[in-house]
């Protein structure tokens, strides 16, 4: 199968063709000839070639938006939680395990050993992972390492990461993650739920047990 055929097949399957998941197909679509062929073919069957951002993953999109499609999208947004669960939880766990230097953007590397180590060292993360019911195939007897492995496998299955180093269990984040970020941005633009407008950080003065009641008023914030 030629590269362009493979690329078209991936697009038709609804895959996000990026430099990390389908590098050959992505390279073909980057070239002017390949891109033109893909656009022509998709145009013939009523679709078009689209990208997640200027240099993001390629995907197949509807060419014409009908009223039925708009209604369908409205319904999808009414039940958008199904699209967010459990991927958001998984990626947030990965983000938290990476500390102050999170890397969960296209092309970033994730190592199973590092994630497992971070989870074991952090009881809160360990508990969060143990309480996750969305991990498919998990058992109550699973260790934290097993759960991390299952989470990564589930993310691979969903197309958000791809295994690049089988020996040391290294994974690379694919371009599909941009789809999720764009969806989150869309939710943020259309609802006040994720916005921090109006949020004021404040720290209440902590009461001390060793201070007599009469002196506490001096510690309290005015």
């Amino acid at each position: 199968m030629s590269r362009i055929e493979s690329a078209l097949k991936r697009l038709a399957e609804g895959c996000f063709v990026c430099a990390y998941h389908y590098p050959d197909e992505f390279e073909t679509l980057q070239e002017a000839g390949g891109k033109r062929q893909a656009e022509e073919w998709l145009g013939l069957i009523g679709y078009r070639l689209a990208r997640l951002g200027e240099d993001g993953a390629f995907f197949m999109a509807h060419s014409i938006v009908t009223n039925e499609m708009r209604s369908g999208l409205r319904e999808e947004m009414r039940a958008v939680r199904t699209k967010l669960d459990p991927i958001v939880h998984f990626l947030e766990v990965l983000r938290e395990t990476q500390g102050r230097d999170p890397h969960i953007h296209p092309g970033d590397m994730i190592w199973e050993s590092e994630i497992s180590e971070a989870v074991r060292a952090n009881s809160r993360l360990e508990r969060t992972l143990n309480e996750m019911r969305e991990i498919s195939g998990s058992r109550t007897t699973d260790s934290s390492i097993d759960r991390v492995r299952r989470v990564l496998e589930q993310l691979v299955k969903a197309g958000y990461i791809v295994e690049t180093n089988a020996a040391s269990k290294g994974y690379q984040v694919t371009g599909k993650v941009q789809y999720l970020y764009q969806l989150l941005n869309f939710i943020n633009e259309n609802t006040p739920l994720l916005s921090d407008d109006g949020v004021v950080d404040s720290i209440d003065t902590q009461l001390r047990l060793d201070v007599p009641d009469g002196d506490r008023s001096g510690l309290q914030s005015p």
């Binding site: 509807h62 958001v88 983000r95 989150l184 941005n185 943020n188 994720l194």
Partner: protein, 414 residues
Amino acid sequence: MSTPIKDVLQTLSRHADLVAQALAGVVVVGDDVSHTEILALRQVGALRPVGDDGYRLHPRLREYLQDHLQLFPAFQSLADIGAKITLLKSLWDEVELLRGDRESVVGMIDELQTTVLDIGDTMNRNMLQLQILMSTRYGNVRSLEAKKSQNRFYQKQTSALSGDVQRLAREAERVEREASIRGRDDLARFIRRQLLTNMMSWQHGLSDMQTFLRNEIYRLRVVEQDLKLLARTDMLLRQQPGWRGFEVDFSGEIPDFLLATCLSPLVAHSEPMESDSGMVDEMATLARALPSRAAPLIPAEAPKRYTRIVDPPAPRPITPAMKALGRLLRDVSTAEGGLSLIEWRDGNVDAQTMPPSIWLVLALAALRAGQHEVHLVHNLPRDGERFAHTFKDARAFPKRKMIPKVAHRQGAAV
């Protein structure tokens, strides 16, 4: 023959390991570094003391090695050309002032040409460094914060260098123009070749780098925003388990990512091949499942004819009511003065099988259907009522019999 340069180079060569070590950081006298080696490099000025017992490589030597190896640390500053531009300007001014002193002017012009070459070399080095940083996205930092800091650092560096290049262009054009006017065509040509012809590529390169840095800074801002939204969405999903989604108006333009779709999966239709063992097995299974032989032909049947089946008429049973009514009709036909239905019932056994009220209504219906005249015998009106609403008997008369006047006086017919 020994010369100072050869001595220096030989010393560096003899202690190449220590030079390489010093390139990476400060060296101290210890197990793998002897005092003699340090002393030898100190004597040729390759090492300089730092702190109490440390030594570092001479900055120019470090710069040379890094240039040669194309090793750029995370925050490598771009080489400054501002001082050299100032020197170029000063030298040209001095050449103008010392116009009569030929020997001094020649020396100044030599110096000026060396400065021009230095500026060209420095700019080329800076551009090479920037190109390498761009191609590797200057990725030699580990954290997002360090990357942001690095972006800011190089943004300032390129801005400063860009300003210097603009100044260089002005000064170089002025010197070239004045040199041409003064008849120093060699110098003017030299400046054109070494500086002015490269100016455009330098300015373009710097502009590209600034654009790249702007995009990079924007990208990092986007990354931060993405991560923040991820954390907040996770919190939202955890804190509001009942939240399913939100209302949005899709009457306008729809973002591309929401229109992502896929084709329905196609059912594979593979051509059976003799060489495909799986397909052979499948075909054998299908063949075994076929009937052993052809089914016998079924003779064509004549079209069926259908006959409507009608139940034979069943004799209707003669009920006591029917008998009583038959008898009553006969008696009424012969009773010229009419007869009372209640009184007649008392004399008939069949009529007595029904309660008096049922009999009365049945007999009334039958007589009126047979065109007999029937007059009701009403009860007296109840207290407070002006008319009677009930009757207790009826009198039947033969057909076409006049109604007696008594009946009119008794009440209205029902």
